[in-house]
Amino acid sequence: MERMTVRRKVLLYTLLTLASLVTVLPLLYMVSLSLQTEAETLAASAVLWPESPQWGNYAELFARAPFGDFIVNSLVVAGAITLSHLIFDPLVGYVFAKFRFPLRNTLFVALLATLMVPFFVRMIPLYVMMANLGWLNTYQGLITPFLMDAFGIFLMRQFIQPIPDDLISAARIDGASELRIYRSVILPQTRPALAVLALFTFVFQWNEFLWPLVATSTPEMRTIPVGLTLFNQEYFTLWHLTAAGSVILFVPTALLFVFTQRYFVRGIALTGLR
């Protein structure tokens, strides 16, 4: 690498600092809102930081609604879906990357086509289906529609494709079963991609709103994003509580990100999206 001139360095730091401020400041403002009194959130000119932080807003969330249940439900649902993706997406991706079989391209295109369907288009038929199964207001009802998705499979396929075929042939000659080849030859090599997959899936499901809204029928089964709607009045938003809930909503995804971020660029770089 060439040595950077001081001017160029200053320029780059300024650019990155400004961009980071733009991305982070609004979120800090959300934290600020969560610590304001209701009056401060509605004050004449926006309050940048509360005079005395109202940590009690967080306690109020739990007092006003079964917020503990919301957190558990969100963790169970997003966790189970993420787990399911980690099981199925690499397996299916592996098949599309390394096997030749009739209708392969057709099936792959049919799979990718599902990326193009907005969720609410499927929502009513899914709702009728879940109602007929008696799965409304249950965890299986919340989880089933999202067990796999084309994006995750595509990501894994891209990642597995560059793995040399020789590794697989060698294992076959050694007499390993197909499932074993997948488990002990392919899967261990996909760790960075699995981290990326886990993060994407969890973040996406954790924030999902429409399906838990229609598929739950008791407060105790709601997830956090749906539960948050309880804190609004008919004609106005209770900002302090909504913001406090949003902060809580944000924490797990941020933690997960901190743990997986070191895999992040590598994981994506190796998917062949170069």
Binding site: E38, A39, L42, A43, A44, S45, N105, T106, F108, V109, A110, L112, A113, M123, I124, P125, Y127, V128, A131, N132, G134, L136, F154, L210, L213, V214, S217, T218, P219, T229, L230, F231, N232, Q233, E234, Y235, F236, T237
Partner: protein, 424 residues
């Protein structure tokens, strides 16, 4: 990169998808009544998240005791409640009782999703005072083909809220007509304070329309927004407050109704035209504002728009007797009285308007006195079954004039012409 799909692949895909289409459309195969709670011990009610009053909690406790059921009170914001309800109608699993924001009762009566309550009214109406004790507009807006389908729970209307100190300082009398209103707004606009703040939501135009004597839709003649020139005048008057006289800020497009209230609470607007729902946030955030409430303005007539929520029972609800009993309990005079004491909400019973605490409260009394002048804005439209489209187009039309400053004459004429086409 993905293997790029060929035309043949897409055709195959389409073929596969059409083959799968052999399933029934939206209706579930279950024709029998089905209530959401598979558990017969649960009674499911959809409620607005902002209406979870103590007074109603007490009714629920008594109801649970009397019928040995558990009430599952599901609270939603209005748009979410509607999304949920339509999914329920599609699947056939419905709640026992639904609170609605006004207008849905007739819509769902027309579509066959609401149950007629006429049999219960015939039986119990005398004893509970329905319909005789309800303001007439509330009975009419919940009926279809001569039958009652819903019972009004709250009845509200728009009037004028003003900042007493600001009016005093500017030496302005409380306006009663449009001319006085404009003059007052001009005098009140100064130093970062606007004379008035208008709402981005189209429904706030109705009091003006009604004061101008406009009929939104006349099913008999098939005409919309008549007399058109009065409707244009009313709409242009509102736009002129913003763009010509500059006595009001441009409303921000959005999804809530709290813009004017926030400006009023912040001391940035001296007058707003709104309903009782804005009283609570104003008092909470700005207890030092000396709040004045005045009757609706008068132009050709003194009038305002009726609003407020009603209750109805889905057609497929399995225990209509229970649902009706809930309605009776929650609309009793004592409950209305308790809810008003708790929240200041306005109620549909005529006898409620006579209560001493209503008559002696300077704020509630103004609203209560305005209720008999309140009119429903869209009843004739709802009965055509094209209410959704009408609302969508109203919203666009209103914002084009109010926010984007397009001439009311042009936009409203176009709106009326289109509406007359699809409402027929």
């Amino acid at each position: 990169m993905p293997a790029h799909p060929s035309r043949r692949d897409l055709l195959r895909l389409l073929g596969a998808a059409t083959a799968a289409a052999g399933v029934p459309a939206l209706s579930s195969c279950a024709g029998a009544p089905a209530t959401q709670s598979a558990d017969p011990g649960t009674f499911t009610v959809y409620w607005n998240a902002g209406h979870d009053y103590q007074a109603y909690r007490k009714v629920i406790a008594e109801f649970e005791q009397a019928h040995k059921v558990t009430v599952n009170l599901q609270k939603y914001q209005w748009p979410d409640l509607r999304t949920r309800l339509l999914a329920d109608f599609a699947s056939g699993t419905v709640p026992d009782l639904v609170e609605e924001p006004g207008g849905w009762v007739q819509e769902f009566a027309v579509s066959g999703n609401a149950r007629s309550l006429q049999d219960f009214v015939d039986r119990d109406g005398q004893a509970m005072g329905f319909p005789s004790d309800w303001q007439p507009v509330t009975v009419e807006r919940n009926s279809y083909q001569g039958k009652v389908y819903g019972v009004q729970l709250h009845l509200t209307c728009n009037t004028l809220l003003y900042n007493k100190a600001m009016l005093r300082d500017a030496g302005v009398e409380v306006p009663t007509t449009w001319e006085e209103f404009l003059e007052a707004a001009k005098k009140l606009t100064k130093d970062g304070v606007y004379g008035v703040a208008l709402n981005q939501d189209y429904s706030y135009m109705w009091p003006w329309m009604m004061q101008a004597g406009v009929t939104p839709y006349d099913a008999g003649t098939g005409k919309a927004m008549t007399p058109l020139e009065d409707a244009i005048e009313a709409l242009q008057f509102q736009a002129d407050l913003i763009h010509k006289h500059k006595v009001a800020p441009v409303p921000v497009t959005g999804t809530d109704y709290s813009g004017p209230q926030k400006l009023f609470s912040a001391g940035r607007a001296a007058m707003i035209l709104t309903g009782p729902w804005d009283l609570d946030p104003i008092r909470k955030t700005s207890p030092d504002i000396d709040l004045g409430v005045a009757p609706p303005l008068k132009h050709k007539v003194q009038a305002t728009q009726a609003a407020g929520v009603s209750l109805f029972v889905p057609a497929k609800a399995s225990r209509p007797e229970l649902s009706w009993d809930f309605i009776k309990r929650v609309t009793a005079l004592e409950v209305e009285q308790a809810a008003t004491q708790e929240t200041g909400m306005l109620m549909p019973r005529k006898s409620w308007a006579e209560l001493p605490e209503v008559q002696t409260d300077p704020v509630i009394k103004v609203f209560a006195d305005a209720l008999p002048q309140a009119k429903d804005s869209s009843q004739e439209v709802r009965l055509t079954g094209r209410f959704g489209k009408w609302e969508e187009q109203l919203k666009v039309m209103y914002q084009q004039v109010i926010i984007q400053n397009r001439p009311a004459a042009e936009v409203l004429t176009e709106f009326a012409k289109t509406a007359e086409g699809y409402l027929k």
